[in-house]
């Protein structure tokens, strides 16, 4: 049962060869056994797991056949803790369910668990969670990436057949890459944001984290669509189809020079040799499948990270203002007056990275600095979107590594925010442009030699997973807005040719 992809499991349930309740119970018990607290030897990838004996609602005829679904903590789920990885929302149970989740439940999904994440989706390692870090199932001394690290680890470890995540600057794609699974960030606006606890409203997008490309298409099919509750949502122009392409004949792939060779300002974003090798093998394979590969230019892409770290914190500083202790969530008790209550509540409730970004954003929006920071970042954003538009006149899809490195060690980058921010170097440009991008596993690589290796890594070597065989490398494929079907087809063809086996990540 565990070897089945979600699509295969649905086929067996529909054929009467597998019971939905049986499958749910398998995943539920595995999630409880292996996904729980670090103290209990788990991966800590869940913040809530469905209770033992909770019925897996049989949904006869529903397209998703009762399949269990893991959902990132920041999606509101009625009556179920939805805390966005934050102390300030500890125990918060919303009175309503996010549109994207509600649609999947409507289509026959069953809520299995909520997954751990960086607090308010701010991070690239899931270490910024109030509920402790999630471990990478491939190597428990390493991070699963983030911010949707709990979702990525759960799917990679085989503790959930598939999961929902959100991507603001790479938060689906990067953890998918680091955990050896598929992660898709759809076109901005194609999936409703209603009920997603917001980080950066103009960038946040929900998307699937799955074992393979087919599952990603299947989950996405039931997520997209205009939602009257989200003014920025759009009707997807065509149904999401099951990918079937076996060849890439005539497909023009562009490799952006700027994302291959980061400049001196971005020391730390250079590709690890093993990542470069895996990426180049994938390009060769694409050519063998009939694609043409050419170098292209996204001249403003190197500025993407700077623009992103103005825009996203600015929006976040406002989005997080509602956590004031007045109506819900934690409230500091010892306060002497209103201002003191606000200050203490937010001091105690938010972690350091969230505070850092609130301060960044508050500064960038403040009077006198607005034009120099926020205004300028928005102009850069427009230039980046224009770069992509121009590039897509000469190529069909753009390919890059998803991350410069494989999974890094726990604690390796926590002391250096800039090093952590560089994790988004390859994924942020697409986020700013609002275009879809998918990460698929394209091979294994030994961890980067010498790059911040921890002195304790050998001591815990035995306890770690299968790092010896190498860690997963992600290939990112991006397309124009609403080109998801084309994107999924190309990803599917490459996936078949690559033949990546994620079995080593399973626990």
């Amino acid at each position: 049962m565990l070897d089945l992809t979600a699509a295969a499991a649905i086929a067996q349930i529909e054929a009467g060869e597998l019971g939905a309740e049986e499958l749910f119970e398998l995943y539920r018990s595995r999630a409880a056994e292996h996904g729980g607290d670090l103290g209990a030897g788990g991966l800590n990838c869940f913040t809530w797991i469905a209770e033992d004996g909770s019925p897996a609602p049989a949904q006869p005829g529903a397209p998703l056949a009762g399949l269990p679904l893991a959902v990132k903590d920041l999606f509101c789920t009625e009556g179920v803790p939805s805390q966005s990885g934050s102390r300030i929302l500890e125990g918060y149970r919303p009175p309503y369910t996010a549109t994207s989740v509600a649609r999947l439940l409507q289509a026959g999904s069953t809520l299995l668990a909520k997954t751990n994440q960086d607090e308010f989706a701010m991070g690239s390692s899931t270490e910024n969670s109030a509920f402790g870090p999630t471990l990478n199932p491939w190597d428990r001394t390493r991070v699963p990436g983030g911010s949707s690290g709990g979702s990525a680890a759960a799917v990679a470890a085989g503790l959930a057949p598939w999961a929902l995540g959100t991507d603001t600057g790479g938060s689906i794609r990067q953890p998918a890459a680091l955990c050896g699974i598929v992660g898709l960030k759809p076109t901005y606006g194609s999936v409703s944001r209603y009920g997603m606890i917001a980080f950066a409203s103009s960038l946040d997008q929900a998307g699937p984290l799955t074992r393979d490309v087919t599952d990603a298409a299947l989950l996405l099919e039931h997520m997209v669509g205009r939602d009257p509750c989200d003014a920025t949502s759009l009707q997807f122009p065509e149904p999401i189809a099951r990918p079937r392409a076996e060849r890439l004949d005539g497909v023009r792939l562009g490799v952006p020079a700027e994302l291959q060779r980061p400049g001196a300002d971005f020391a730390g974003a250079e590709l690890e040799p093993g990542v470069r090798a895996a990426f180049e093998r994938a390009l060769k394979l694409a050519e063998e499948l009939g694609a043409s590969v050419q170098e292209i230019h996204l001249p403003h892409a190197p500025h993407a990270l700077s623009a992103y770290y103005v825009i996203a914190p600015s929006e976040a500083s406002s989005n997080l203002a509602r956590f004031d202790g007045v109506r819900y969530g934690a409230r500091a008790q010892a306060a002497t007056d209103l201002l003191d209550m606000y200050t203490r509540t937010r001091h105690d409730g938010f972690g350091p990275e969230v505070k850092r970004r609130i301060m960044l954003g508050t500064y960038a929006l403040s009077s006198g600095y607005y034009d120099a920071y926020y205004g300028r970042a928005q102009r850069v954003r427009t230039k980046i979107a224009d770069d992509f538009r121009t590039a897509f006149e000469s190529v069909d899809l753009i390919v890059t590594p998803t991350s410069a490195n494989v999974a890094f060690e726990l604690g390796e980058k926590t002391a250096n925010p800039w090093a952590m921010y560089l994790s988004d170097y390859f994924t942020v440009p697409m986020s700013l442009a609002g275009i879809p991008a998918i990460s698929i596993p394209c091979g294994l690589s030994a961890p980067g030699a010498g790059a911040g290796s921890s002195p304790s890594s050998e001591d815990v070597g035995e306890a770690s997973g299968s790092a010896a065989g190498g860690l997963p490398v992600g290939l990112q494929i991006a397309g124009p807005a609403f080109s998801e079907n084309r994107l999924l087809d190309a990803a599917y063809a490459l996936e078949q040719a690559l033949g990546f086996d994620g079995g080593a990540g399973r626990v």
């Binding site: 920041l74 999606f75 509101c76 939805s82 966005s84 929302l89 918060y92 919303p94 009175p95 309503y96 996010a98 944001r193 209603y194 009920g195 997603m196 606890i197 917001a198 950066a200 409203s201 103009s202 009257p228 509750c229 989200d230 003014a231 920025t232 600015s314 929006e315 500083s317 406002s318 997080l320 203002a321 509602r322 956590f323 004031d324 007045v326 109506r327 819900y328 209103l338 606000y342 508050t362 929006l365 403040s366 009077s367 607005y370 926020y374």
Partner: protein, 479 residues
């Protein structure tokens, strides 16, 4: 020091009479139990998103058209960020540098802009004082939170408290007639802040202004502005300078106190609301707003002057209270024999009829039918009934309800005296009976005519026309 001139601009917040709130589907609240008209959106729950109310945009455009604004093809919502318990998201969704409507004029006052925003929730301070100082606790009622507001900002074109209050009444009538708001100051659906400064008369520069907040009746506005003008005048004349600050007027004590000084002024960190799309106004929305317009008070007054030759005062009086205007037009449209002249009708409605009805009562709801009043005014104009007798007929119409004025005149014997001969005899008798007074009038004391006219009126039961009596007295005394 030269004479100081007050310069006043107003910021008016109007709650729009939409069915639902500005950014969610909750119905508007009219005194329901606290926190019963709320949802995830207007409570600012995590993950909720705003969706702009199309009806509120429509109402905003109507206001813009009514005050002659330019309707922006594209306007955007901004977030105004600050912390307060009545603001559940930590920001108010408002409009900033790209408002819905720009410029315009209403009466003698230029309009700066009209924009849309959401109302805050209501803070209730628990404790003896009922105010924030000295309260034991504060609780929040979110029923009001998210109610659509139009903010109308004037240019600083007003020069006195009375003018401000009068102009605000014109705005209120205009908005009421548009049907976009209940415009009830006591209930808070119309709220007014005033920006006040003084400058040497004739100067074009603006002085330092203060902002007087949230005055909730016309009377308070007038008193508040007067008090602030007096405070600034005293300050400046005493050699001091006005400090820019926000002020509160206490109608009980008449005192003005500072709410917060400029030093603590918020940096609202405005930025475009990323959860909403820009408001794009197309031809269809423009046409819908134009089609929903009715004739507004200023235009109505102008029409009364142009087409019916009413005096400016009468035209405004009728037009600015639309129920009087409606009644006037119904009376004017009635065909009567003899016909009622427009100005006489206006005088009788605005003067005699209104004074006989309760304060603010709609004459259409009274017992006096508009055609009956027109018939009465026609009789008076043709001098078939004297003014005094006409008042008696109107008393009967108001008290007893309806009836045909001509029939009342006949039944009560109130018809005007037939010609000069009949009245002349009565005047002669009155002069004879009051010979002392007659002598004094002849000697030039006009006031002495009173007893003579009084005697004539008594004799005629008021059917004689006062002016005609006076004329005959003079004639018979040879002056």
């Amino acid at each position: 020091m030269s004479e100081l001139e007050p310069v006043i601009g107003l910021e008016i917040h109007v709650q729009l009479a939409t069915a639902t709130k500005m950014f969610c589907g909750c119905e508007l609240s009219f005194g329901e139990p606290p926190n019963t008209r709320t949802c995830a959106v207007c409570l600012g729950l995590p993950g909720s998103l705003p969706v702009a109310n199309a009806r509120a945009v429509h109402f905003g455009l109507m206001i813009g058209l009514a005050v002659g604004s330019e309707l922006a093809e594209r306007s955007i919502f901004h977030r105004k960020n600050y912390f307060y318990p009545d603001l559940p998201k930590g920001y108010q969704i408002s409009q900033y540098d790209e408002p819905l409507c720009l410029g315009g004029r209403l009466g003698e006052v230029r309009i700066h802009r009209v924009h849309l925003e959401e109302d805050a929730a209501k803070l209730i301070h628990v404790g003896a004082s009922g105010r924030i100082h000295g309260s034991d606790a504060s609780v929040v009622d979110f029923n009001r939170g998210g109610t659509p507001l139009a903010e109308i900002v004037t240019e600083p074109d007003l020069r006195s408290a009375e003018q401000a209050s009068e102009w605000l009444k014109l705005l209120r009538t205009t908005l009421r007639q548009l049907g976009v708001s209940d415009v009830n100051m006591e209930e808070g659906s119309l709220r007014c802040d005033a920006n006040i400064s003084l400058r040497p008369a004739g100067s074009q520069e603006l002085g330092v202004k203060t902002e007087l907040k949230n005055m909730n009746s016309f009377r308070f506005i007038e008193r508040g502005i007067k008090a602030e003008i007096a405070r600034q005048r005293k300050l400046i004349e005493g050699g001091g300078t006005v400090v820019q600050e926000t002020l509160h007027f206490d109608p009980d004590s008449g005192a003005i106190s500072s709410l917060r000084s400029k030093e603590e002024a918020h940096d609202y960190r405005y930025f475009p609301e990323p959860d909403l799309l820009p408001v794009a106004i197309d031809e269809q929305m423009r046409a819908a707003a134009a089609a929903a317009m009715t004739e507004l008070p200023a235009a109505r007054a102008e029409r009364y002057q142009r087409e019916l030759q009413l005096s400016a005062d009468s035209a405004q009086l009728l037009a600015f209270r639309s129920e009087l205007g409606d009644y006037f037009e119904a009376a004017h449209d009635a065909t009567t024999d003899p016909p009622a002249p427009a100005q006489a009708l206006a005088n009788w409605i605005a003067g005699e009829l209104v004074s006989r009805l309760g304060d603010g009562e709609d004459p259409a709801a009274s017992r006096v039918q508009a055609p009956a009043l027109a018939a009465l005014v026609g009789l008076i104009a043709a001098k078939r009934v004297s003014v005094g007798a006409g008042r008696q007929v109107l008393d009967k119409l108001v008290a007893e309800g309806g009836g045909d004025p001509a029939a009342i005149v006949a039944a009560e014997g109130l018809q005007a005296l037939g010609g000069q001969d009949e009245l002349g005899v009565i005047v002669a008798a009155a002069l004879a009976a009051n010979s002392d007074a007659a002598e004094r009038v002849r000697a030039g004391n006009q006031k002495a005519i009173g007893p003579i006219v009084g005697a004539v009126m008594r004799e005629t039961k008021g059917r004689a026309e006062g002016t005609e009596v006076t004329r005959l007295v003079h004639e018979q005394l040879g002056i």
